[in-house]
Symmetry: C2
Subunit: 473 residues, 2 copies
């Protein structure tokens, strides 16, 4: 039995991850094994996003895992940000290495060393590449999918001839993430700009899409960094412009990771387990056959193979659970735990009456329908569910976003409700740090278009924008 989501969210999360067969810790401390069902979800995310990245004119590449210590040190802020989390290779091929090699905590430095050789002229720009890779960050406190020593991600890196090109790319990448997370993961996010304290080490500024998990805690789902000319200057990425003048290039980088699998669980799950949006589910339909004897089973096989044909024709991903060891009831629970969007329960009755009994994961009500009609409607039934999940997510974020007019308001809301809190902030890192210290809430981002005039919730100084506070993962 799963822990109750409302009573112990953290325990519930770990149980879902383990019991639904998504992932588990390996014997190597802080490292995760991604199991078949969990990997299938990540693979769906990856395939869809890969297409969207290519649509932005970005090509896939692969750069080395190793980063010489000297590279990491070239950009001062960058090394300061990542140094504490680096794992170092010091021996290889039976020898001590002359220089320690970092395992990539992110690939700016190793890529930009090469970019400086690729880029000579404005004709070489823009350069837009992406890689799917494993990333190493030596974290102290780990949690499956959310924070492990090794994780999988995609990192896009682009180089532009002018500031505007980099700016537009930073925005496009964020818009792509928002679109993907909304339309495929059915999760509502707030796009905005990070405060300086939360900006990527080495970037001019960082944009993010932030969402709210069902326990009211924030989760950063994707980031897009405008690197300005910081790395270009450290790595000497220069080009001759149309007037034959040497200029430093402008750069961006942006990424999302296996963390999104964790977000998916925490944004849609319930006391029975995972709830997967149809567009990202490994199986959109799971068929559970119900039979007592061999004769019934034979009739079922024939009937179900006609269902299989019908689902295939509609391009629906399905699985028929013919396992012999488990009862139908056990299977219902198992597929609810695994979050299959639609379950078909097919027994002798259904065969005889040429119908199906179907159960949607978000309402769990048994509904009968003629087989023909079901096959005709299956795609729209699933897409309606997809829409419902997104709507629910939008409403959840809306219902859990509160406005704080004063600092006592802010403290009260954070401690009583958690969720997002909108409040004016002066822009001073000191106020930000004090609020974090006292409430554990951080500035998630400064949402786009959050104008207005008010006073900083902490110090009372004038402020031109509301920001979003939350306790966060």
């Amino acid at each position: 039995m799963l822990a109750s989501q409302s009573k112990d969210f953290s325990k519930w999360y770990n149980q879902v991850v383990l019991d639904a067969g998504l992932a588990e810790y390996s014997s190597i401390k802080g490292c995760m094994v991604i199991k078949p069902y969990g990997y299938a979800i990540w693979e769906n995310m990856k395939n869809i996003l890969d297409g969207m990245i290519k649509d932005l004119g970005v090509d896939n590449v692969y750069f080395p895992l190793f980063i010489p210590e000297s590279f990491l040190k070239k950009e001062a802020e960058h090394v300061e940000g990542f140094d504490p989390e680096v794992a170092w290779v010091t021996q290889g091929g039976g020898k001590e290495l002359g220089e320690r090699l970092a395992l990539r905590p992110t690939s700016e430095t190793v890529m930009y060393d090469t970019f400086s050789k690729w880029i000579q002229s404005h004709r070489d720009l823009p350069l837009k590449v992406n890689q799917w890779a494993n990333i190493i960050r030596w974290e102290k406190r780990t949690r499956l999918f959310l924070r492990t020593l090794e994780f999988l991600w995609q990192e896009g890196h682009t180089v532009h001839a002018d500031e505007r090109g980099a700016e537009e790319m930073t925005n496009s990448a964020l818009a792509m993430y928002e679109d993907f997370i909304k339309n495929h993961l059915a999760i509502h996010t707030i796009p905005g700009r990070k405060s300086d304290a939360e900006t990527f080490a080495g970037a001019d500024y960082t944009l993010s899409v932030e969402s709210l998990m069902l326990d009211g805690k924030g989760l950063q789902m994707g980031t897009s960094h405008n690197l300005g000319q910081n790395f270009a200057k450290s790595f000497d990425i220069k080009f001759l412009d149309e007037k034959e003048e040497q200029k430093y290039a402008w750069q961006t980088s942006w990424g999302v990771s296996t963390r999104m699998v964790g977000a998916l669980i925490m944004a849609h799950g319930d006391d029975k387990g995972l709830v997967l949006p149809p567009r990202i589910a490994p199986y959109q339909v799971v068929v559970v056959p119900i039979w007592k004897d061999n004769k019934e089973k034979k009739n079922l096989e024939k009937y179900i193979s006609s269902i299989e044909r019908g689902l295939s024709e509609k391009g629906i991903k399905f699985f028929v659970d013919w396992r012999e060891q488990q009862t139908p009831g056990w299977k219902f629970n198992d597929w609810e735990l695994k979050g299959a969007p639609l379950r078909l329960e097919i027994g002798p009755n259904e065969v005889e009456e040429k119908k199906v009994t179907f159960v949607l994961r978000d309402d769990l009500k048994k509904k009968p329908l003629a087989l023909d009609k079901f096959l005709e409607d299956a795609v729209s039934i699933l897409s309606e569910m997809q829409k419902r999940l997104l709507k629910r997510s939008e409403e959840f974020v809306k219902d859990n976003t509160r406005v704080a007019e004063s600092y006592s308001d802010l403290k009260k809301i954070i401690s009583e409700y958690s969720g997002f809190v909108e409040a004016f902030w002066c822009g001073d890192e000191k106020c930000e740090a004090e609020i974090k210290e006292e409430t554990k809430a951080t500035i998630r981002n400064i949402p786009f278009g959050s104008g207005g005039k008010g006073k900083c919730v902490k110090c009372g100084k004038k402020s031109g924008h509301k920001v979003l506070f939350a306790k966060a993962y």
Copy 2:
């Protein structure tokens, strides 16, 4: 200009890899950057093979990069085989680690530690998983795609309740590789069994598919290992069988890597560069527009967009090279270097006469054809080319496989022709080692079905099978 393939194969290979934009060395010694065009080829291989792996009922997973030293040491032969090539992480998160962590040179040990927890009963078997991952082997002499400190691969790992299950899986995986390499890469391979000296460290036996590059050197393209119960005993992978008796499991592992990109270059290339089989080419058709002035360009644009529509409808992957800086002639050379299977040259003449001029990469002859007819035939033109490349590969291997009746024969053939040499071998490692020492040729494999009776080419003892010798990559 490229080096001549027949005069300096090695120089030619490196130039093709660099000039066609496939890959280059990074600043990290022995490590490769896979560039967009090279990665697109690997991605095509990966996508096709991933489907074939799934068709064998194998699920994708992801296991940690790190392997504790103690794991690696559990299987004695295994550690002996890999220890010299291991890179070690000794520091992480600002601290010295208690135990060194190897970066996976292959994942048997880290996976099987976890498998021993997953497997309790015969009902948990067979277990069949695969991962796409980066692999680290600290090689002394490196060559792009063929041997670098880091490379990309897929590794399948399966566990079975009986010996026969493992045997069948070992064969199925090899058959899959042979099929993929034949029907997609258009390369003829010889399937067979490795000699004991060339068997994977820790396996009962290793099967391989071996091919011949255009310089007459052998290249191992994929391997499939029957691990027997060796790792099961070291990692305590046991299960209760149907009679409630505890048994050790039987295992296999199998893999192919980015090395296949190197093989593709060396099996099909010519003095003009790469020759890509249509089924694996990033672009199957490249359109080079030819225009003098804006009016001509405008007419071209309209005509070419109708070609684009036609190619899209046929599911053909194409690219229109509208670059302004380069002449058509430069582009012809560039796409020959990059191995595009079919080039369309479209100028004012073609527009006026509603025709195309097309050039196939394997014969480089200009052929005119009415546009309608071309679009109708394009798929079959490409598939005919695919077949021709495979046939050429089959003939090349056949023509370069010679029989040695005596040891002097063997030595003469190896030094005069290189290529494959069939000869009887007694099975003794001493003969194998002496032949290698004296001729630089190794036993590539013992081809399936290579029966017969004869005498070992080296020692004259009785032998029941011919084996395949070659100098190899």
